[in-house]
């Protein structure tokens, strides 16, 4: 019997070959499609990758004189998806998202697993039929509340502050959604929050320790914290905007805003595009959306208090 465990993230029930912080082993019923997750040698991925017929859907350079880009994503109709990120390693996701192989560099596990939970698993989830949004989310009274903002816009800070006030943690940065019996379900991501230094500096040390375990620091502080175990109905979406007044206002569900809030934009198959539009349309019909002002300098504590009150009152 191999030493494997079942973990759950982004709506996937994952048969994993390794332990990872933020991905606790689970038992019992399944909530979504299955996938396998293995660590392999990079040669295994590259030797099996076709020399021809692949398309590059993403190439990013962050400066410096290097012969290779810092991040790439390639797709091949039979080989699947090859995702590379400098310092984080290489991964291959099968065309259906059912099989995931990671070839990490020789760094601490929590470092390369940021790439796993931040990009590779959401990619597989979308291929398996989930829809992904660039959002954090918490749970209150058995319902999920999502926070959408651009990078650095306060998603994580608001979620962590709400967890500090007693909310359950659902996900940081990527929220996976699906529909079951006409209800939009918000799935837990990884139990890891990446907190900016400015926000961490505003959090009392004792409170920080109570929230969870610091995995490490790399620009941000990576905090492993308890996470909801299964999906919850999505009750509201809050679009965070800069503002010092911590006000919350009802917003009209705009299709452009909703579509622009999705994640894993490199997957443009007809099936995904239709699912993406369907989920956005269901959100527009069923899920109230709001704007909420978050103080970019003063932290998220005041807004978190208002949001908690608002979420509890929302019918």
């Amino acid at each position: 019997m191999s030493d494997r465990r079942r973990v759950r993230a982004f709506g996937l029930e994952i048969d994993s070959a390794f332990d990872a912080p933020g991905l606790p082993a689970v038992n019992g019923r399944s909530f979504g499609p299955r996938a396998t997750l293995d660590v392999v040698d990079p040669d295994r991925i590259d030797s099996g990758w076709p020399a021809r017929g692949a398309d590059r859907v993403l190439e990013e350079d962050f400066g410096g004189r290097r012969s290779q880009p810092d991040r790439t994503i390639d797709v091949h109709p039979k080989a699947g998806w090859r995702l590379y990120a400098r310092h984080f390693g290489l991964a291959r996701v099968s065309p259906t998202g059912a099989h995931i192989e990671c070839a990490p560099p020789p760094v601490a596990a929590w470092r390369w697993q940021r790439f796993l939970v931040g990009r590779v698993l959401p990619w597989a989830a979308v291929l398996r039929g989930l829809e992904a949004f660039h959002a954090s989310a918490v749970s209150i009274d058995g319902r999920a509340f999502a926070f959408v903002a651009p990078t650095g816009g306060g998603k994580t800070s608001v979620a962590v502050r709400m967890v500090a006030r007693g909310a359950g943690f659902l996900t940081d940065d990527v929220l996976a959604l699906d529909r079951r019996d006409g209800v939009l379900r918000a799935h837990p991501g990884a139990g890891i929050a990446s907190v900016r230094p400015a926000e961490k500096a505003l959090i009392d040390r004792a409170l920080w320790r109570r929230l969870g375990r610091t995995l490490g620091n790399s620009g941000k502080s990576y905090l492993a914290l308890p996470r909801e175990d299964g999906p919850l109905p999505l009750a509201a979406i809050y679009y965070l905007r800069p503002g010092q007044d911590a006000t919350i206002e009802r917003a009209k569900p705009d299709p452009r805003t909703l579509l622009a809030s999705t994640f894993v934009l490199g997957v443009q198959t007809p099936t995904r595009l239709m699912n993406q539009l369907d989920v956005c349309s269901v959100i527009a019909k069923q899920v109230p959306t709001f704007t909420a002002g978050v103080d970019p300098n003063g932290g998220s504590a005041a807004l978190a208090e208002r949001l908690e009150e608002h979420a509890r009152e929302l019918k």
Binding site: K252, P253, D254, P255, R256, L258, L259, Q268, P270, L273, M274, L277, D278, C280, S281, A284
Partner: protein, 93 residues
Amino acid sequence: MSDDLLSSRLRVPDHVVHRSFEEETVVLNLDSGVYHGLNPTAARMLDEIDKSDSVAAAVDKLAVEFDQPRERIEADVVALCQALEERGLILRA
């Protein structure tokens, strides 16, 4: 060209899907991945065009529904059909 169009039966092809939002209908061409937006009036027109035996029949119904002169509705529907056809969002059956 307008007469030819008015007598035609138009259909939304299988590779085009549309979903309604509060103030807009989004039309997605799955082949190209391009999204298009329709206001509620244009979306209602598309629905009627898609299920009518001819564009002229759709115009008749829409003129009654919108309580507007038929000529005005016909001009709007023809312009919409031409715009949708150019983008591959409707086809002649």
